[in-house]
C-alpha cells in the first residue's frame, strides 16, 4: 500500500499535488497546496487493512508532507475477516503457458475467436427458453433468425477478409458484407458455399421455436460475365448448380441478396433471395462474395427510416410536402406527406465547395443529418447590371434548393399517412435595414438562411427518443443597391442548421399506489340488517 500511487502519472518527474509520488523531493512538497490522494487503502471490506495516509502540514515552515502507515479497521459486523478463496477480491491472473498445458490452452484460445462458453449457440437453444418464455410470439430486433437446424447464415469476414459461415443474420438489421472465399476450380462443384443450394436449402422458422417454416424462394438470377457485365435472366428461376465447362467454372455464386418480409408482430412471412452468378477461371484461388439482407414490413413501402422511433444522430432528417389543394384542416385525414425517395435529398442545405463560387457548384446540396450542426456558404459573383428580382430568385434557389420541404417528420419512423406526426416548417423573414440607404428604394436580397431545429427527449428516462418539435427557417435579407455600371460585386451567402435540445427536465413517473378494495358482503350484518 505504501508503494501504490494513483496520481503518479509522469515518469521520473514530480506530479503536482501528488503527495505519494516518489519522484518528489522535500522542496517540491513545500510548494504543494493540498494532497490530491489523501489515503491509499486496500479493499475496504476487509476487517483490518493497512492504509497509507498522506497529508500536508501547512503550519510548518516550509510545509512538509506527512506519511503515516496505519491499520484501518472496519467497524461493520460484516467485514471480511478471512477468505479461503484466492480470487475472492481480485481478478485472476491468466494461466502462464508451460509445456504441459500448452496444447490445452492452444485448443481453447487458439482460434480467431473464443468465448466463455464455446459451444453455446449451436446446441443450447433450449437453455435460453426460461428467459424468453414470454417472447415466443415473433422475433425482436437483433435476434438471430432461426432455421430448422441452426441460424440463417450471412457469411461475413471475421478478423481477416476470409468468409466465415458462422455469422447469423439478425432480425431487422440490414446488413451488407463482402468477404473472400478460397476456391479450387477442379472441385468447384463440390464446394458447398459456391452453389445456390447452400443458400436456399435452409427453412426459416416464422416465429422463434415454432414449427412453422418459410422456404427461401429464388427472386431473380443475374449472370455476371468474366468482364463484369451483368444480365438479368428472364427465364424461370430454377436452381443452377456450379459445373465445369472447359476451363471455367460457371454458375458460381458471387452474391446473394436476401429480402425478408415480416409482419409488425415480428413474424416472418416470406423470404426471397436474389443471386448473382458468375464464372471463374481455373487459375482463380479465391473469389469475393457479397451478401446482403434487408427487411420489409408487409404492406408497407420500404421507406428508409431515420430512427425507430426517435431520430438517430447522423441519419438524415426526413421531410416532405403536402400535396397542393388540401389547405383546409378538414382534409387532414385524407392526404399524406409526399417524400423524396432518396432519403438524402429530403431536407438539404447548400454545400460549400472548394472554389467557393455559388454557381459553379450546380446545385450541390448536402443532406441535413440529425444532431449535426452545419454551416456552409459560398460567394456569389453578381454582374454589374443585375436586376433585383432575378437576383433574389437566384439567391432563394441557392439557399433553399429546388424543393424546400414544408413538413419535417417529428419521429425517425413517422409514416407519411400520419400527418399529425409531421411538424410544419415555420418561416421567418428578417431584413437588415441600414439607415443610410433608406432613401433608396431598397431591394432586399436574401443572404442567409438559418434553420433551427428544436428537438426534445421523449419517452422513458432509461431510453429517451429524440423527437423534433419545431423547425424554424429564418431568411435574412439585406439591402442591395443596384448600380447600372461598374465592376461586378461579390456577396457572401451563408446557410446553417442548428439543433437545439429543448427537453423539459425529466419527471420520473411512479406507479399508482395500490388501492385496497374492501367491500363487505351484503349480508355481513345478518341478522341485524
Amino acid at each position: 500500500v505504501a508503494k501504490l500511487c494513483v496520481c503518479d502519472l509522469l515518469v521520473a518527474q514530480c506530479d503536482v499535488n501528488c503527495c505519494c509520488d516518489p519522484d518528489c523531493t522535500a522542496d517540491d512538497f513545500s510548494l504543494f497546496t493540498t494532497c490530491s490522494v489523501p489515503i491509499v487503502t486496500g479493499d475496504s471490506r476487509l476487517c483490518s487493512q493497512k492504509a497509507a495516509v498522506y497529508s500536508l502540514d501547512v503550519e510548518a515552515n516550509p510545509p512538509e508532507r506527512i506519511f503515516k502507515l496505519i491499520d484501518q479497521t472496519n467497524p461493520s459486523l460484516f467485514c471480511i475477516h478471512a477468505t479461503n478463496y484466492e480470487e475472492a477480491l481480485s481478478f485472476r491472473s491468466p494461466e502462464m503457458p508451460t509445456s504441459e498445458n500448452f496444447d490445452r490452452l492452444l485448443k481453447e484460445f487458439g482460434g480467431p475467436a473464443f468465448s466463455a462458453e464455446p459451444d453455446n449457440w449451436n446446441t443450447n437453444l433450449d437453455a435460453e427458453n426460461p428467459s424468453d418464455a414470454n417472447e415466443t410470439y415473433g422475433y425482436e430486433y437483433g435476434v438471430p433468425i432461426q432455421t430448422v437446424d441452426a441460424f440463417l447464415r450471412l457469411p461475413s469476414p471475421v478478423v481477416s477478409s476470409w468468409c466465415s459461415d458462422a455469422n447469423p443474420a439478425a432480425f431487422l438489421v440490414n446488413q451488407a458484407t463482402k468477404c473472400t472465399r478460397s476456391v479450387r476450380v477442379e472441385k468447384c462443384d463440390n464446394i458447398r458455399a459456391l452453389s445456390m443450394l447452400f443458400y436456399t436449402n435452409c427453412s426459416i422458422l416464422a416465429v422463434p421455436r415454432s414449427s412453422q417454416v418459410v422456404n427461401i424462394s429464388i427472386q431473380s438470377i443475374t449472370v455476371q460475365s468474366l468482364n463484369g457485365t451483368r444480365t438479368l435472366l428472364n427465364g424461370s428461376n430454377v436452381l443452377r448448380l456450379p459445373m465445369l465447362l472447359d476451363e471455367l467454372c460457371i454458375n458460381v455464386v458471387l452474391g446473394v441478396s436476401y429480402h425478408v418480409t415480416h409482419t409488425d408482430a415480428g413474424e416472418i412471412i416470406e423470404a426471397a433471395a436474389a443471386f448473382v452468378l458468375g464464372a471463374i477461371k481455373k487459375e482463380a484461388l479465391s473469389i469475393q462474395q457479397s451478401f446482403e439482407i434487408s427487411f420489409t414490413q408487409v404492406n408497407t413501402e420500404p421507406v428508409p427510416l431515420s430512427g425507430n422511433p426517435g431520430y438517430v444522430v447522423g441519419l438524415p432528417v426526413r421531410a416532405g410536402f403536402r400535396p397542393q389543394g388540401y389547405p383546409l384542416p378538414v382534409d387532414i385525414d385524407t392526404s399524406g406527406i409526399i417524400q423524396n425517395t432518396n432519403k438524402h435529398s429530403q431536407f438539404t442545405i447548400l454545400q460549400s465547395t472548394a472554389s467557393q463560387d455559388c454557381l459553379a457548384a450546380q446545385g450541390a446540396r448536402t443532406p441535413i443529418l440529425f444532431g449535426y450542426n452545419m454551416i456552409s456558404g459560398c460567394k456569389l459573383r453578381i454582374p454589374a447590371a443585375m436586376k433585383c428580382q432575378p437576383l433574389t430568385q437566384t439567391l432563394l434557389d441557392l439557399l433553399k434548393g429546388q424543393s424546400f420541404p414544408e413538413y419535417v417528420a417529428s419521429f425517425g419512423n413517422s409514416q407519411s399517412q400520419d400527418v399529425l406526426d409531421w411538424v410544419p416548417i415555420t418561416h421567418l423573414h428578417i431584413s437588415e435595414q441600414r439607415v443610410s440607404l433608406l432613401f433608396q428604394s431598397s431591394c432586399q436580397i436574401p443572404v442567409s438562411l438559418e434553420l433551427e431545429v428544436k428537438w426534445t427527449k421523449y419517452g422513458s428516462l432509461v431510453n429517451p427518443q429524440a423527437r423534433i418539435v419545431n423547425v424554424t427557417a429564418t431568411l435574412t435579407s439585406t439591402a442591395w443597391k443596384r448600380v447600372s455600371s461598374g465592376r461586378e460585386r461579390m456577396i457572401p451567402v451563408m446557410s446553417s442548421v442548428v439543433f437545439t435540445d429543448v427537453s423539459a427536465p425529466a419527471e420520473p413517473g411512479y406507479k399508482a399506489w395500490p388501492t385496497i378494495n374492501i367491500k363487505l358482503p351484503h349480508d355481513f350484518f345478518f341478522p341485524f340488517v
Binding site: C79, T83, A88, L89
Partner: protein, 133 residues
C-alpha cells in the same frame, strides 16, 4: 440429591444450546445468502458451505437429543455418543470459523460462542459420565 445423578447444569446448558443453535443456523444461512450476493461466490464453494451447514444442523439435533436423553435417563451410552457428536460438531464449527470461503466478523463471533458452549458441555458431560460410572 445424592440419589439424583442427572446433572442439572448440563440440562440447562443443553436447553440453552438448543435455542442458541436455532439462532445460529438461521443467522449463518442468512449470512451465506448475503455473501453470495455481495461477493463473488462460485457455485461449487457455495454448495459445499451450505451442505456442511445442513450436516452440522443434523448432527446438532442428534447430539442434543442423545445428550438430553442420556442425562435424564442416567445412561452412559447416549451421553458417550453425544460426546462423540460434540467432537464432530466442534470440528464443523472450526471449519466455519476458519476455513469457509469467506469468514466475516459475524461468523467469527457466532462460531466462537458456539465453541465455548461446546467446551463447557463437553466438560459437564465428562463429569456426568464419571458420576454415572
Amino acid at each position: 440429591s445424592s440419589c439424583q445423578l442427572s446433572s442439572v447444569p448440563l440440562q440447562i446448558l443443553l436447553c440453552a444450546h438448543g435455542i442458541y443453535y436455532a439462532f445460529y443456523f438461521a443467522a449463518t444461512l442468512a449470512i451465506i445468502v448475503y455473501k453470495s450476493q455481495a461477493f463473488s461466490y462460485p457455485d461449487g464453494f457455495l454448495v459445499a458451505d451450505v451442505v456442511l451447514l445442513l450436516l452440522m444442523a443434523a448432527l446438532e439435533v442428534l447430539r442434543l437429543q442423545l445428550g438430553s436423553r442420556g442425562n435424564l435417563t442416567e445412561e452412559e451410552a447416549p451421553l458417550g455418543l453425544s460426546l462423540a457428536a460434540t467432537a464432530g460438531s466442534g470440528a464443523l464449527s472450526v471449519y466455519f470459523l476458519g476455513w469457509q470461503t469467506y469468514v466475516l466478523r459475524a461468523d467469527v463471533i457466532l462460531n466462537a460462542l458456539l465453541l465455548v458452549a461446546y467446551g463447557l458441555e463437553s466438560v459437564l458431560k465428562v463429569m456426568a459420565i464419571a458420576a454415572l460410572v
